[in-house]
Amino acid sequence: MKTVDMDSTIHGEPASVDPRLKVLVVSLYHPELIRGGAQQVAYELYQGLAATEGIDATLLASADQRWPSLFKSGARITGFDQRPGEYLFLSREYDHWWHRSGNVELVERFCQFLAETRPDVVHFHHFLTLGIDLLSATRRVLPDAKIVFTFHEFLSICNANGQMVRTFDRSLCTTASAVRCHQCFPNHSPETFFMRENWLKVHFGAVDRFTVPSAFMIDFYARWGIPREKLEHVTNGQRLPTPEPETEPVATAPRKRFGFFGQLVDNKGVQVIFEAVTRLRMAGFTDFVVEINGDNLVYATPEFRKRFEDFMAEEEARPMEERNVFLNGPYSHDELPRRMKRVDWCIVPSVWWEIFGLVISEAWAFGKPVIASDVGGMAERIGHDRDGLLFAVGDGRALTETMQRAVTEEGLWSKLRAGIRAPATREDMTAAMLRVYRGVGAAESAAQHSTATLGG
């Protein structure tokens, strides 16, 4: 018999007297490496904090094996591309069921990193690729630090990629339970979901404050068991490109060009647009154009992919004068102004809750009214007939009618454009988060972004 005594406790030193507020932003991925909404918002916040006087900001963003050269031998946390204050968390042995890393040295290094940097606030943007249990580690190493967590979707509640869309019929889900989740994932028992929920909640117990980018999420998370008083709505803010000048007079140009911007995956709902296009043609209404901007079709289900490819093949087989739908492919952030300039309306036909919809902010930044599904973050942000149009989620017939109205109703586009408010900026979001960090309710300032409107 061999007996080994082991003790691995790491504790942070008592915080020194430093008038500067030290904030560590922990992010799912570095947006420079892997694009995505959560990391983009986290990085905007980090930059906003770094630019704020009196704030000492640090970023710890994860990277995975998509960039293997960044995994320096024996390293678990490294600097990033000679950028001061930015560090990479080299994610290893990540368990996508329990959402934690099984790599002892990685967890150990994270604890040491906390003990070395001793932030006053640790703000987690997601736990994916990082590990939900790092919340408990943070509390153990920094018992006095304020821990803030931002939910970017419903992954805590829903194993179906956090979308709360039922896997067997793609209907929207409003409540998770052990049995309902088992219905979506029959290979996992109800008890497994019971354990999953409790496991996650144990670690969320270390968090002082939760923020959500859309207010409707508060009900979801409160129902799930997060104390309502710990949940706050802080809208996402970002710096957006400057619009290019319009080539046609705003008041007189025909408004028959629709654009879709986003990933070509099931839940983004581009199939609803296809149905609407088909119906419009059947009704003899063909004087419109839809431009599809985006990619990642590879991540869609095979069924969706086939439907998409079949539709586009049929479309491309038509004579040019009969074509209504054009696939522009992927675009970079820098290309956005040019792509946006080509359309009058943005359609956001998502068939899931669409937590925030950064594309709505982008459309607004370019003065494009949005036509969107009437659920979740879309319904919360868009005022029907005020700054955009809503239609019944997933309903191709309703979108058909909405598109026809958009093209034919005189003055509608100009009216809605005039109703658009400027989306929240990076500075708006930073200020709201600082209020959360300092224990002041963020609701008043954070949820209400600038009231300035774009000119028509």
Partner: protein, 661 residues
Amino acid sequence: MSADDEALLVLEEVAQARSRDQRLRMSIDLVCAAGRNLAISGWIDDRDSTVAGVTVEARGAMAALGEADLRRTARADVDADVNAAPGSRLGFIAFTGNLAFAMPPNEVVRVVIALGDGRSASAVARVRSASPAEVRLEALAGLFGCSPTEARRRVGSIDAVAAARDFDALETLTGPQAPASPDFADDGLVVMDWQAPRATAVPLNVDAVVVSPEGGIFVVGWIDDRETKLVGIRLVAPAWQVSFGAPRLARVRRRDVEQALGIATASRFGFWGLHFNSKHLAVSAQAGCTIEFVFADGSLQSLKLPHLRQVEQSELRNIVLGQLVGDEHVGSVQVEASNLLDSGIGDGIVALNHAVVKRAISGPHVIRFGKRTDFRMSVVVCLYGRAEFLMLQAAAYSATDSAGIEFVYVSNSPELAETLIKEARIATLLYDVSITLVILSGNAGFGAANNVAVDYCRSRVVCIMNPDVFPRSGDWAARLIEGAASATGGAFFGTPLHYDDGSLMHGGMYLESDTGISFSGDVISERRLLRVEHYDKGTPPEAASRIVSKSVPAVTGALMVLRRPWYERLAGFSPDFVFGHYEDADLCLRSFAEGEPVFLRNIAFWHLEGRGSTRLPVHEGGSLVNRWLFTRKWLEYVDEHGLLGLAPPNPAFMAARAAAA
């Protein structure tokens, strides 16, 4: 074969004693008693000293056996284990016919071996009750290094054996000691007189002979012996031979054979047998063996099997259990299985399992995480097949008031060792926890693994817990500790367990018996088997919350709390049970028999029953054995003491009766 021989062939509950003193390696293999007759066999590594005497401590009585009562024996199996020179004579056999007191049946005793240099080692063992002649034959068997059957054959008259009261008398009976018999030769399942080869062949085949070099042989095949009955099978290999009498062979249904022979009625054409005697078996798989079938008409038919399948004894156990659970019977599966287990196969499986367990628990690797050394309670969790429960429990219990609690995880899955070490390290980074990992080299089963883990507990209160049990309240630890300190049911209690939906999974256990029928030729017979059931399983959450604390016949091993001295007094879980099932009820009934009925204390936990480990078909075979064993051990006692039914008539369970009413 005489009744005495039959009895001797049954390897009854041989307690696998565990040395409490790690400095002296020893083992008690057998304690066998009848009134004032006592035989103890085992071994001790006393190469740097010598055994001075053996003391046996029973309830309120103690007896010392001196040098005259002791003989040392060669133990080749032990020599290899402890790196001793061959022939080191580390084995011992102690015998007396003049014990200072009459040994009660099924007594649990402590055996203390004193060395000449003042050191001592002790182990707790359960006494196997026997007849006086059997006690003497065991002593002789220890001396000869053979089976009791062979010992009897050597000494002749059983009456003369019965009159001998000490070793001197025994040795005058036997004359000069005969050389030890070769491995397995005539190891006495049945002695058959071989006759002439058959003129016409009986349809038969042997599917496999599986051999474990540690001393096990399994044979399986089929035979159409309707015309002339099979009376036995003899396996003859170059280095060993073993016989199976027909009563020691399982006869089971084989639909494939029925179909091949065109037989429309259900028939027991299948046969299989297990022989295990823990002696090393010189195996040459390539040499194969000859299988001789002997029939009632005196004829003989042989078959040459060119190849033997050689496996480790744990795999042999699993093969046998897989065979047992896969058997098709004509009558009730459990009853027919119990009948065939009665034939000696059951005892063979138990003995084989003992050997597997003994190996698995020898030299556990123990790693402690955390600096604290004093604890108020030790939670012992046995892991099998799934490592993630360590991390899940560490998280769940760390979110409660668990200061002063240590968790001792014992792993029956060697392949999980590395993962568990990592999990424990991560847990200590995340939480303020104390974890001890006890890693076994094989699957010792639930009971034996827990027994080993308790050895490493550092508190006076032991909580046996399944990995899929989670706290429902933050003060669970304080309430369990308070319960253990209570004068009522504090020595041994369980708690209600709830499914994840809040309904009740366990509110104590009661005993029921089922009567099934079996067919043997034209004879239909009944057999009763004990079964354990959980009180109020499925009771809605509202009603479940109103459970009252009370004495119950048994509680589940998923969560049971014992004061450690009481656990040790009971010698922990019985090692007889295979894998798991029924060892918890067995422990509870032993506690009852010792005067301490178990208690149900209303402190609720979640129990995600069946999720905490992997369950394989072979475990179902273990459950068949365990139910058979549990019934054999307790049916009569349960009837006599009014322990049967939802509302057992025994006065100890008045409150349980009222609740059931």
